[in-house]
Symmetry: C2
C-alpha cells in the first residue's frame, strides 16, 4: 500500500512534537494562572449548529457510519472552530456553570478545504473566552488580549503584538457617513489586505452603493493607527460623529491605554481591522508575529454581545483564539526553534549481558522514581555501540554497572564530554538543563 503524507494534515516527527507539546503546555499553564478552566468538547456537532453562524460554513467535514445502513445518525460534522462548541457547551450546561465562565480550550479543528488548496485541513487552536450571563463588563475586553500576550510572550517564538479596533467605531462611522449595509461594508473592508484600497473602493461601490467619497472615507478610517488617545482625535478629524462612534472611541482608547499600562507594547490600535464575522459587537483583535507579517493574524477574536441565547438569557462574551499550528509550522519549518534531543530520555542504562538486565531495570526504576527519564539498553552489544544508541537519540548520559574487570561498580558517563564518575542511583542527579529536553531558539534577527 502506498504511503504518502495527506496534504493539509500536518504531523511532526518525535523531536518536533517535543516543541509542540512544550508550546501547548505553556499555553495551558498560562491560561490556568489566569484562572481559566480547561474544557474539552467532543469533535462533532450537529450539522445544523455548525451551519448556523459565520462564513466558514462551506468547509465542514460530515460524518457517515460506514455500516450505517438505514439507521444513520442525526447529521454530524467535525467542528471547524472552538466557538461553536463553546456556545453549545454553555447552553447545554448553563445550569451547572458559574458566570462569568472563564474557559480555555486547546483542541484540533477540521476544515473540509479542497486538497489542492494547500491549506490546513486539521489544525490546533487555543482559545480563551470569558462568557457572562446577560451582562459582561467592558474590562474583560482589556483583560483577554493581555492573557494572550502573556501566554505568547512565554513561547520560543518572535514577539506578537495585538492590533485592535472596535466594531462600534466602524459601525458608527459608516452610519455617520451615510452607508446603509454596514455588515457587508465590514466584510469588504476586512479584505483590504487581500484586494487593496482600489479593490475595496470598487467593491464598496458595487455591493453597497457607496459613493467615491464614502469609499475614500472608509479607507481613510482604515489607515488610522496609534498607541494612545490620538487615534480618537484622528477619527474625529475626519469630521463625522454620532453616539455609537463616540462610545466605540471611548472603549478603544480605554483598551489601548489600559493594556499598555499593564504590559507596555502589548496592544496597538489599527482601524483597518474589521473581522468578517457578524457576531462581534465591541473590541476586535488581530495580531502580528513580528518579522512574519506574511503569516497573517496568529491570534484573533473579539467581543460578542449574544453569541448564544436560550430564549431566557443571552450569553455575551469576549475571547481570542491562537492559531497554534500556523505558528508552529512556521517556527519549526524555518528552524527558529528545536528540541535539544529526540527523546525524553536523560539516561541510558547499558547492559553487558542478558543476566544483568534485571539489575539494569532496577537501576532504571530507582532513577525514574526521582524523576529522571531512563531507558535500559535494548541490546547487549559492545559498550561503544550502546553509547552510539544514546548518541543518535541525543541521550546525554549512559549508566554502566560493571567496571572493566567485570565487578559491579555503578558509574555514569556524560557522553558529550566523556567524563565518567562513580554514581549512586538513589542520589545522582543530572544537571537541571539535562533533566528534560530543552527548546533551543535560533537567534531572532
Amino acid at each position: 500500500m502506498k504511503i504518502a503524507p495527506l496534504s493539509g494534515f500536518p504531523e511532526w516527527l518525535p523531536q518536533d512534537r517535543i516543541v509542540e507539546q512544550r508550546v501547548l503546555d505553556t499555553l495551558r499553564s498560562t491560561f490556568e494562572l489566569h484562572g481559566f478552566s480547561g474544557i474539552e468538547t467532543r469533535a462533532v456537532e450537529p450539522v445544523s449548529r455548525l451551519l448556523s453562524k459565520g462564513e466558514t460554513s462551506k468547509e465542514i467535514y460530515l460524518l457517515n457510519r460506514l455500516q450505517g445502513g438505514d439507521s444513520q445518525d442525526a447529521e454530524l460534522g467535525l467542528h471547524f472552530d472552538l466557538t461553536v462548541p463553546l456556545s453549545r457547551y454553555v447552553l447545554e450546561n448553563a445550569g451547572k456553570l458559574d458566570f462569568p465562565f472563564r474557559r480555555y480550550q486547546i483542541q484540533k479543528v477540521w476544515r473540509g478545504e479542497r486538497p489542492q488548496d494547500g491549506r490546513f485541513r486539521e489544525f490546533v487552536q487555543a482559545d480563551v473566552d470569558v462568557v457572562g450571563a446577560d451582562t459582561l463588563a467592558f474590562h474583560h475586553e482589556i483583560e483577554l488580549p493581555l492573557v494572550m500576550v502573556d501566554a505568547l510572550s512565554k513561547l520560543p517564538i518572535p514577539r506578537v503584538v495585538i492590533r485592535a479596533s472596535n466594531r462600534k467605531v466602524a459601525q458608527g462611522f459608516f452610519d455617520a457617513i451615510g452607508i446603509e449595509d454596514i455588515e457587508e461594508t465590514l466584510r469588504i473592508v476586512d479584505k483590504l489586505d487581500k484586494i487593496g484600497p482600489r479593490g475595496v473602493a470598487e467593491t464598496l461601490a458595487q455591493n453597497v452603493g457607496a459613493t467615491e467619497e464614502q469609499a475614500q472615507l472608509a479607507l481613510k478610517l482604515a489607515e488610522i493607527r496609534g498607541n494612545d488617545a490620538s487615534v480618537a482625535d484622528a477619527v474625529l478629524a475626519l469630521g463625522f460623529r454620532n453616539e455609537l462612534l463616540d462610545e466605540g472611541l471611548d472603549e478603544l482608547v480605554r483598551l489601548i491605554e489600559g493594556a499598555n499600562e499593564l504590559i507596555e507594547g502589548s496592544v496597538t490600535a489599527d482601524l483597518s481591522i474589521a473581522r468578517g464575522l457578524d457576531y462581534y459587537t465591541g473590541s476586535v483583535y488581530e495580531s502580528t508575529l513580528i518579522g512574519h507579517e506574511d503569516l497573517g493574524s496568529v491570534c484573533s477574536g473579539g467581543r460578542y454581545d449574544s453569541l448564544v441565547s436560550d430564549g431566557k438569557r443571552t450569553f455575551p462574551g469576549v475571547g481570542l483564539s491562537i492559531g497554534v499550528s500556523r505558528i508552529l509550522a512556521r517556527v519549526i519549518g524555518k528552524e527558529l526553534v528545536s528540541a535539544s534531543r529526540q527523546v525524553p530520555t536523560a539516561v541510558l542504562v547499558a547492559v553487558n549481558n542478558e543476566d544483568e538486565r534485571r539489575h539494569a531495570e532496577k537501576i532504571a526504576m530507582a532513577l525514574r522514581s526521582r524523576g529522571i527519564a531512563t531507558e535500559v539498553s535494548p541490546n547487549t552489544q559492545k559498550f561503544g555501540k550502546q553509547i552510539r544508541y544514546a548518541e543518535r537519540r541525543g541521550i546525554p548520559f549512559v549508566w554502566f554497572t560493571q567496571d572493566e574487570s567485570g565487578a559491579v561498580s555503578e558509574q555514569v558517563k556524560d557522553i558529550r564530554s566523556g567524563e565518567q564518575v562513580a554514581a549512586d542511583e538513589h542520589a545522582w542527579m543530572p544537571p537541571a538543563e539535562d533533566l528534560v529536553a530543552q527548546l533551543v531558539s535560533a537567534s531572532h534577527e
Copy 2:
C-alpha cells in the same frame, strides 16, 4: 435549537475535566520517564488502510466535505484505534526514526457505533509500543506491561492487575490436540466471558468442527491461572506437547517471573486470554480494575511480529493500550475521585471600586509571576458577595487591597478558616496543597 447531549460522546464539566487532565498528565509523564517519545497523528486515515486489519472495521466514521461536489478526497475515515495510525506513521517515517522506536500516544479515537447501543463513539486511548526493525527482543514483552502498571499505579483509581497469556501456548496447544482452524478457535475462545463454556464448546463444534473432547481440552486450557512456573506444569499435565507450545510456555513463565520480581503482583497468568485480533504472535495482555471486574479489560495489548512491512523490512512490536475514557467514566461517575475545586484559581483579588481595578491587576500579575493562579474579581460588589464568588468556585483565598478605613493595606484571607493576614504580593505563597486543585479519592472499599 434544542440542546441535548449526544449519546456516546462524553464530555466533562470543568471540575471533572481537572480529574481527566491530571490523569492524562500522569500517564504522559510516566511514559516519558520510561523513555517513550510522544507522537500525535492526524485523526484521519485512508479508508483502505482502516479496513486492512482487525475485526473493528465495521465501526468507521467516513468523512465527506459538505461542499465537496465532484472533487471529493480520496476516501478518509476517522481512526478507530491508535495502532493503525502507528503502523502507517512508522512506514511513512521509517527512514527518519531510530529503531527500536519507543512511542506513546494519547488521543481520541472514534467508532461509528449505532447511537442506541450506548457505547462510546468518541473516547481517549493511551498507547505505548516499542517497534523494532526486523527484530525485537523478548524482554520488551516483560517491560511494556510494567510500564502500564507503573503508570496506572500512580492514578487515583483502584489497583489494576495485568493478566497475560501467550499466543504460542494457545496455538501450539490447539495444533497439538488436532484443531485445524486455529485463528477462528482463538476468536471463539476469546468470547468465553460473553457466551460461557457451553457456548464456546457449541461454537467450536459448529465453526471449526471440534470434537467434544477437543472442545473440553480447549476449555480446560482456558481455566489455567497462576503467578509462577506452575502454570506451565498445569498445561503440560493436560498431556499434549509440541515445539511451539514449549516455546510459548517458556516465554509465559519468563514474563510472569520477570515482571513480578520487578513489581510484585503486577502480572498474573490467565490462559483464558485469547485476544480476538489476528496480528498478535506472542504475549497477550488484558487487565482488571480490582473491584470493577464488570468494566472488562481497561488495558490490553500484545506482541505482534509483523504489524506492517514496507516490502523490505517488517516491523515487529509489543504494546498496550489503556481505555482512559472507560476508566474515567467509572471513577468520576461513581465519585471515586473528584477535584478539590472547580477552577484552577488559588486567589481571587477583590476590587472595591473600578478605579482600583488596575492596582488589583498588578497584584494578580505579581502573584502569577510566582506561579499562583489568580483572578481579579469581575465586579465591585460588597466584599461579602466577592467572597461568595470565590466560595462557589472553591477558590481558597481572597486578596484585599484596602482596610476598613479605605487605606491601602494588602491582606489575604483564607475564606475557609476566615483567617486574614497582611501579605506581600511578591513574597506570600499559599500552602502547597492549595496551590493547584487536588484530586480527592473516596476510600476504596
